[in-house]
Structure formats: structure tokens, C-alpha cells
Symmetry: D2
Subunit: 357 residues, 4 copies
């Protein structure tokens, strides 16, 4: 952190700042020019309040130098982290992974029928929602515990790892009991208590970016997972708020592909893209899947439904199973093509400088 004093700051103003820094157990590095003084902080800048310093007399501005998500940054963990969900390895140099399945678990039969098609198409992990975050209390809220059991049984019967979203703190243990990976959804990105409890279960966490969260903000919350002792973190870009205005947006959200190389550069953890929620349009899933892999995504998460007119939620954004295989094969093809080219994914990271905006 460096504190830029106003040209009109007095010696007393400078002393108050230094005193505050020392009271937090840190060292102050004072640089007095002819016209202006700047004070650097030596030590963990997270120990001191940004706000409190800004409120002091004579302070012009305060700059962070340390990234706000140090524990998961590449400067702290330089090499790619590979996360295993049962026997599926995600991240690093591994081929892209496909997480697929219906939006909601509706019954054992529906789940088994779709899961079978999804597995045959080559998907690696099965998704299905038991606790659905819903805007309206009048919408289908998910089957809850029954849904979890269906998912668990289908996963066992078809030998495919499973992931499901956890919404309430009270359900964390149940979701961890029945699933191989816990998903924290976009709406719960700011829910620090849920994040920490989920992390403590020790299973991999698929942590989605909030739809109005800056990347640095997102990573600050992701840091809580690793700080809770769980390094099995998967990041997931799932679309940000579209532009407002009097015209309707063509897409429900804006899948932010810029986030993928940025996340890979800032952190060593795997990055997943979700083009289903990210666009909300079935016809954009294929082009946005290609685009995500080319940007460097370690995997995709796609909603699949074989009978969309019967789906209880998100029917508009589900891929038919027959297209899923095409997307999986295309992802591998693009991955290999880029990996062996002059501009491999590792190049996106290697010549990077430190964090800046």
C-alpha cells in the first residue's frame, strides 16, 4: 500500500499516518520529495484499513500494491493447480473437461435418461440442481434432498462423478454427503458464510462468479475457500449483467470471455466457462463453447435436456444431447490445435507482468 499525501499536508498529518501504520504492527517507508510525501507500508497491508487511512487529514489517495487475493495468486502459488473430482483431472495441461446435465433434477427416471445420453456423448461430470435459486417464490424450487439422492444414485449407477448447487447453509452437509463436488452459484458469490462452510467439507468447490462482480472482487471471495484449508477450487465464468437501456438485450447475460485469460494469469486454479447461463440462448452454446476453449477455459459446463418442452426450468438454454458430443469433440480438437501452435495457452500466462488494471 502506498499513501500519497496532499501537497498541503502538514508534518503532523504525516506523523498521524505513520503512527497508525505502526500501531498495526507494520513498518512505514516515508518518501519525502520537495513538494509531496508518499508513505509506503512494509508488511501485510491487509492488516490495516484502507477506509480509515483515506479518512485521515492530509491524505490524497491510497494505492494497493498487494493483490487483494494474495493466497490464491500466481505470485503465491506459481504453478497450475490440477483439481481432481473423483478420477477426473481438471486444469493445468489436461484436456478440457465437460460438466453436463439438466438444469433441475426432476425424477430418477429423467436424471437417468439424460445422464446416460450425456455420458455416452463423452461428458466427464454430471450436473443437476436439487436446490434451485429462484427469483420467484412461485417457481419450481427443486426436489431438495430427494433430488440429491436421485443424482447420487444415477451417478453411482452410471459411474460418473456428480456436482450440485448448495444454497442454504443448513444443506451444506447433505450436499457434501451425496455429491462429488459442491457448486456455489452466482447469487451466493457474496455469501461468505456459505462459502466457508462449503469449503470445510473438503470436497471440490465449483465457485461461480457473481453476475455483477469485478474479477478482483470475485477472487477476494474465492480466496476464502483456500483460506479455509480447501485447495480444490474451480473458478467458473457464467456471464455478467448485460448492458441496460431501452433496447432488449439479445442475451440474458454477457459471457465474459476476457475473464478467462485474466483468471488464468492471476491464479493457478482451473477456469470453467458456462455458456448456457452465460448467454441464456441454446443457439449460442456452440459458438461460445468454441470461443471459451480458444480463450483458455479448462472446461465447460453445459445444460442438456432431451425434452425441453417438459423441463421445469431454463428450457431455453439447454443443448440437445446430440449436440453435446459435437461440442466435446470440437473442444478437444481446438485444445490440441492451440496447444501445439505458436500461441499456446502457456504463452498467455508466461510473459505476464504483475497485477495491474
Amino acid at each position: 500500500m502506498s499513501i500519497v499525501m496532499k501537497p498541503t499536508a502538514t508534518k503532523e498529518d504525516v506523523q498521524v499516518v505513520i503512527k497508525l501504520i505502526k500501531s498495526a504492527g507494520l513498518k512505514a517507508d516515508v518518501s519525502s520529495g520537495q513538494f509531496q510525501t508518499v508513505i509506503g507500508i512494509i508488511g501485510d497491508e491487509n492488516k490495516i484499513s484502507f477506509d480509515q487511512i483515506k479518512a485521515l487529514s492530509g491524505v490524497y489517495d491510497v494505492n494497493r500494491i498487494q493483490v487483494p487475493y494474495r493466497l490464491i495468486s500466481r505470485s503465491y502459488i506459481p504453478h497450475d493447480v490440477v483439481v481432481k473430482v473423483r478420477d477426473v483431472s481438471i486444469g493445468g495441461e489436461n484436456e478440457p473437461v465437460m460438466i453436463a446435465g439438466p438444469c433441475s433434477i426432476e425424477s430418477y427416471e429423467q436424471m437417468f435418461r439424460i445422464a446416460k445420453k450425456v455420458k455416452e456423448a463423452g461428458a466427464h461430470i454430471l450436473r443437476g440442481g436439487a436446490y434451485k435459486p429462484r427469483t420467484s417464490l412461485h417457481s419450481f424450487q427443486g426436489l431438495g434432498l430427494d433430488g440429491l439422492k436421485h443424482l447420487h444414485n444415477v451417478g453411482k449407477d452410471l459411474d460418473i462423478p456428480t456436482v450440485s448447487e448448495v444454497r442454504s447453509e443448513f444443506d451444506v452437509e447433505m450436499v457434501a454427503k451425496y455429491c462429488d463436488m459442491l457448486q456455489i452459484g452466482a447469487r451466493n458469490m457474496y455469501n461468505q458464510d456459505l462459502i466457508e462452510q462449503a469449503a470445510k467439507q473438503g470436497k471440490p468447490i465449483l465457485f461461480k462468479r457473481g453476475f455483477s462482480a469485478q474479477i478482483d472482487e470475485y477472487l477476494s471471495f474465492a480466496e476464502r475457500i483456500v483460506a479455509s484449508g480447501n485447495r480444490k477450487l474451480l473458478l467458473c465464468e457464467r456471464g455478467i449483467m448485460p448492458l441496460g437501456g431501452s433496447f432488449k438485450s439479445q442475451t440474458r447475460f454477457t459471457l465474459d470471455l476476457n475473464a478467462i485469460p485474466v483468471l488464468r494469469r492471476e491464479t493457478p486454479f482451473p477456469v470453467i466457462a458456462d455458456p448456457s447461463h452465460g448467454t441464456g440462448r441454446k443457439d449460442l452454446i456452440i459458438p461460445m463453447s468454441r470461443s471459451s476453449i480458444a480463450a483458455g477455459a479448462h472446461g465447460l459446463m453445459v445444460e442438456v435436456h432431451d425434452r425441453p418442452q417438459e423441463a421445469l426450468s431454463d428450457a431455453n438454454q439447454a443443448l440437445p444431447p446430440e449436440d453435446l458430443g459435437k461440442v466435446i469433440r470440437m473442444s478437444k480438437l481446438l485444445f490440441q490445435t492451440i496447444k501445439q501452435s505458436e500461441t499456446p495457452f502457456t504463452g498467455d500466462i508466461s510473459n505476464g507482468s504483475t497485477h495491474q488494471s
Copy 2:
């Protein structure tokens, strides 16, 4: 809900839609013109999935006619609801109410010292945070249960009702035990489980708008409180995400004053404005307080600190106690001036048409 079919839709397409409507226990009202068919839904449109209909063949667009937050709408509850927090009446024709206090509870002494000044200045309800929602895990997270007890004791010793934020589902009962009103913060607006548990405690709920939530979305979540059997709902506008871009925003958030007359027109519940969080700037609290009251706010929520350089959070946006009295007197003056004028607050509501955007 009215479903507009494409000009190219077949009779079979129309039949599929009708069948779906009937299977939800609703009636279909078919209007076939020469070139186009439109199907209206008679009954509670919340019983049917918007998404599922949009995914059907031949459907061009689907329009909601019923507001998505019917249970708290003025068409359902026409007259203003007055909420009582102990003996303080908020909403309707009552004078504006002031909720004030420090951002964080730091100790009994700090709380008592500020609360005393706040009460002398004329504030009606005391605020103080025990469980702080924080971006960084390295920041001060609040005193937790000890903080609640300090707040409770100070409220009792000074005879002033209290409000504090609840963040984790596990803490809901404790907050309800020690405080007269529960606050659900902006980051938890989408946390439906927390909302419902808090509502079930039966105490008044101060429910803040999420900083990237549309008003209709906000009200859909607010409806959950009333649907849980708790009519003691206070809405609170606390600032929306500022514009992005390469220039720094002058304010941390953008206090959305348009929301105040819109909320008053759409619902009968009291509307509070929070100019402290809404702007993040101490020097804007006074003008934005005036502006909020003139827009029709039933009350204000303001952070107050007497020693900002010692505050453990949000020091930049706290009003000094000496200004609080001025704001309270000004609020009453403006309220009375407008009430007796040619353009009283009731006029903002009375000639309103039904919900439209």
C-alpha cells in the same frame, strides 16, 4: 400472461400451448386474428413456467401481465402499511424516521457514546453492525455475539429500539433475540433461505435492495417476507452499481432516487433511503438526505461516527453527530412543506396507472 404466437405458428403449435396451460390448472383465452394468434392465461400466472412456454415451437414472445410480486403490490394491498419498531411508527403519513449509528459495533463504550449523541440529535432507531459482510477475509469481520449484546444493552440503557444486520442463517435467532429489527443487507438480497428464516422470527425486517437488482427483481424477493407470514417489511434503497469505464466514479454507489416514488407506487410498504452506503461520501449525505425526503422516503438510515479516524470500517461515509440533528430537523421541515403543498406525496401514488415499464 399473454403469449404471442409467430405469424408462422401452426394450429398444432397453438394446441400444445393450450394443453400446457390447462395442465397447470389454468384457463386459456385464445384470440385468433387474421394473421396472428394471441393466447391469454386466466388464473394465477405464477403457476406456469415462463421459460417452458418460451421454449415451445411457434411461440414468439410471452408477456407478464400480473406483476411478479403480487402479494406485496398495491393492487393486492391498496393502503399504506405502517410498520412499528417498538413504539416507532414508520410509513404512511408519519413523519420521516431516522435510523442512525456507527457502521460497526466496536465496544460497549463506543456504542454508548455514539448512541447517546445520536439519540440527543433526535434519531429514532439505533443501528450497529455485529456481523459485517466483508469482501476481504483480512478485514474486521465484526464482534459477532458480543457486539449484539453491546447493542442490546445500549438500546436498553438509552431506551432506543435497535437494528442489526443478519448475515448467516445460523445467526438469525440470535439477532432476533437481541435486536428489535433485523436487517438483510444488499449482498444477501438474493439469499432466499436467509430471507425466509429471518421473516419467520416475526420481528420487522429492513430489507435492502441489491446493488445490481432491478426493482421488479427486488420486490420479487421482498414478497418472500410477506409470504412467510411477516408483514413488518421495510424496503431500503441503498445505492446501485455506478457506471463502469475508465474514469473513476465520483461516488462508490449511485443512490437511486427514482426507486423511491416507484417503490411507493408499486407497494404499500415504507421506503427508507440510505445515503451513507448509497454514495460512500460523507459530504453527500446532507444533500442526498434532502433529496430522498423530497422524493418521498419514509425515513433515512445514516452512519454516524464521532471519531472517524478510529472507526474500524466505512470511516469515509459517516456523518459527524453534530450534523445529524440538522438532517433530522431538515427532513421534518421538508416533509411538512411538501405534505401541505399542491404536490403532496399522496399525489405521486394516487393518479398512478397499473404497473408498466
Copy 3:
């Protein structure tokens, strides 16, 4: 400008920065602490490129200290500027001014009929659009030169000053010939050539904020007017882009009332609010007019139409003439009430610190 070097920056890196500063005719103020060097710039920091410095090796971050709109800042012109449009004085301690009229000029008769009602209601300046900025080429584009002549004649016949929007550079002289004030609309906020040509006509300029422009960006473009030698500048807040998302916004734009005290604090020029465009809803014009005046607006701009069902544009956001008088009387009442209170408008400015975000 202060340039923060990375902890790893070499002496050569520092020398390159100093050389660049000197080559621009400026002085460098080097502050070398034990761990970090900071270089201040003495002189007009606008002479040097922000981008170029950021691209240098060893540079961590660059902070502006000088506001980017120095020529119109309060530090440069401390006292309120009063702008006269013919004999109407706007800004400073003057009572709020009302600019009113139809969106589009449709004929001499329509203009005269509405202008007469508008003047009788107490409005000070007459507005009417001759060159309409339109999204669709299929919409009504305005009467052009004929419209200007109608406006001019009505203004003369009823003895009321006029304002109209200029859209094309080719029309600047004509608009300046026929109107007392030139309006530059939100969509042309970035049109630096149009701004400069309009400014050079010497008549007052009503300069609207772009709907996605930060305040500092807006003021940077406003500075061009004064730099062109024209100090007759009126700023105008007219609504920013509403939040995006899957819910429809309740308002077409979000009138940003935070902007009013910020603009008054940053610059000495008068600030107008436009609740018609700012909300796009007739029923919000009265509450948002009150709210604008309470925030410190020096005047309002309101669309008025007596026969909205015949209006060729913006029928949804026009106030009926009978309500205009109420708004004008209310504005004066609020202005006087606040002026004589404990929290007068001057207080919003006087204890302000220098520019910060």
C-alpha cells in the same frame, strides 16, 4: 500526477521516467524511500501522456492529482457563475429556472398553443426540437429549418427565450441564428467537433451528460466549451443507463441525482435536471422534480404536451400543462425553504475538500 514505481524498478527505469517528464518541459520530484520510489510531476500534467508513462518499464501505477477538467473546476473559478439567457439569470443564488415545451416542434400552431400555456404556467425558457436525434431512420426526424423558424417566431410573439438541440455540425450556425441557447444532447456528449463549433457561436450552451458517462468524463468534454472561449455553460443531468438484466427496468433511464451536488461542488456552473428524459415516465416527473431541487438543481427541463396522443415523439414522458404550474411553484417553495434552513445549498459546497473519488 504521481508515478509509483514497482519495488523491483531499477535506477535506469527511474531515469527513463524522469527524462520523459523533462522532455515535456515539466519538473520531476523524486521521492525515494527504502523500498519504493515515487515521482511527482510539477507543472501542467496535461502536457504528458498517462498511457505513455504506464507503458514504461518499472512503472507500477500513475495517479492524477490535477482534475482532468481544470479550466471549469472550482479550484480555478471559485465562485458560482450565473449564465444569462436573454434576461433570464440561471445559477448561483437565483431561484430555480424552468425550461419547458414539447419534445418536437410539429407546426407553428402546435408550438404557439403549447408555448402560451407553458408561459402562463410560469416557465422561463421555451424548448422544442427541430433536429431530433433518433435511433431509427424510420421515425420522425424533426422539421429541421422550418421547425427552427416556428420556434423563433413563437419565442418572439410570446416574448420568451428559446432553446433547441443542434445535432449536425452543418446546422450549428442556423440553430445559433434562430435560438437563444443551443442544446447539445446526450448522444453528442462525445462529439468534440460539434461541441467546439457550437461553443464558438457565443450563445449559451445547454450541455447534457451522456447516459453512460462518468462525471469526470462529462466535465472533460464540458471543459472544451469554456476552452473555446464561451463561459455561458449550463450542465444538465438527464439520466444514466439503467441497470441491465432479465427484468425490465421500471424507468427508461435512471436520473442520477447524486450528480447534482457533485457537479455543484466540482464546478461553478449552473446545473439543470431533466426528469422527463431522466425517467421516461410522466408519473415520475413531479417527485423527481422535487428531488432535483432538493439536491440543489438550479433549474429543471421538462417536456410538456397538451395532446400526448397526437405527439410525434416521447409522448410517454410529457407533463400536462396544468401540472407545470404546480411544479414551478413547488420548486420555488422548496428552494426558499432549504435556502433559509440549517442545511442550505451553500453548505453542500463550502466544506468540500479537493476532488476525490
Copy 4:
């Protein structure tokens, strides 16, 4: 357009709507159900005002059915349009095209030096700015006519087509005289007069999306080019406004890759991506170039500078020439790989339905 009446609408309300439709020379298609009436419009719905209808009594909502940019829609022009800039063919099945060069033209020597490297790397069209749109009047504004001449001469000397931005209506003819293609920048997307004048010059137009424009809004302005008789239209996605908030954005803009398949589906015109402006970060140009091509971009526009520390503008977002060749070769490789795969670009368009959101 279909007009949904309120359940409470009277027969008179319906008659007023029908009369208005007929007075515009259109036919009304009335669908009266038991509970609700819907009125369709037969004919060119652009002939009637959306606003005016919404302001009528008894009208609940109005839906557009015709896209607002009919003249450039795929339903009007079904097959891909290939645009030629001198002998370079862009769009349709052609390999991706590279437009490259420095942000600003600084001298003949600088231009020649960079252009030579750019051409050797395989770029097809040379870019360079003579009239720079700048926020600050204190920044470098471009060399103007001298710059155009340098660009023209370098283009002739190296036999490479050129493109430059036109900013002022007064300069349109000059830019058209000296360049092979005219660029209209993001800030001028709403400048309908400039658009129409540029189009009338008959040369190809590279028309950039405004950074806060919805796609439908963007296409409505693009339609003006074709309506002016010029079918040589290139669309260009160059980044939208990043999310706001208290955290700094990692990128200056958010390159919106969703826009690429959407634009290709909606219109037959070529789509270019600009990852330099779209991200503002040199280190993201390579991954975002890959991602753009995979999304279906017909070409890229990239800023190149060999001596960024000397650049007079945008030094942070320029690619070194040695990387340009890599990007060009990679683009061709990805294009061929995808074209011959199971999910070719044509698939993104072929099974598309009509416009919906």
C-alpha cells in the same frame, strides 16, 4: 407490432388504436378473446410511433415483431455479403482478414516503418489515426490532414489498402479522398449525420459498436449506412463498458464475444473484432484474438507499435510486430480447423430462428 390492451380497456380505447393505425396507412388485425384484446399491425411497423401508441388509454404493452433494422437483417438479405477493400475480400467464407497499424499516425517515417513490419507479418489492411477522438482537450489530437497524406503515401508505397477514422462531418470528404475505407468510431455510433455522410462517399465503412449500445440499437444505426445506398458495411465489436463498482476493472473495456455469433446470425455483413480497444491490455490481445476467431469473426483489428514508449496514444494496448505474424497464422489455422469440423461457422447461423431476446 402487436398491441396488448388492458383487460379493462373499453371498446372506445380499441377504436382509437385502430384509427391511429389506419391513419398511418396500415392495417389492423384485431384479436378479441373473452378477457383481452390484442391488435396486430399489418404493414411496415416503422411507419407508426411506438411511444404514441403506448401513451394511449387502455394500452397495456406494445411488442415489436419486425426487427428494428430490417434493411440489414438476414430475413431481408439472406446470404453473406462479402465486402471488398481494394482487392481484399472480407466476410462470407473468406479467411480472416487482419487490419493492423499504430493507433496514431505520428510521421511518414513512423508510419512507413511500422507499416512495413505489419505487411511483412501478413496483415491485409493498414490502419492509422489522423483525427483522434480524445476525452481531454490537452491530449494529442492527431496530425489531421497531414496524417491522412502520410497514410495515403505509405499505403501507395507499400501497396496496402488503408483505413482511418473520420470524426467531424467537415472532414468526411478528405478522409474518403485519401483512404480506402472510412472508420466510424465507437463514440460516433449515435452520430447519424456523420454516418450518413460517410456512407454517401461510397467507400467501405468500418462501423464500430458504441461501448454502451445494445446490439439492436447498434444495428439500427448500421441500417442507416445501407439505407444511404452503401452496402459496403463492416461491423466491428470493440468492447463494451466494463462493470462498475468499487473494484478496478482488470480490463479497460469488456470485449463482447457473444456479439459475434449474434451479429452473424442477425445480419449478412462481415463482423470484425478489435481486441486492442476491446481489452486495453497488450497481454490479452493474443488470447482474445483466438477467442474472436473461434466465435466466428471475419477479421481482426489490432494496434501495433514497435516502440510503445514513444507512442503518442494507447501505448498500453499495442502488440509488438513480432507477435502480429503469430496471430495471423493462428487465425488462419483456427479458421480452417473449425470450418472443416462438425461445428462449422455456418452451423451457428443455419438453424437460427427469427429474432428473439
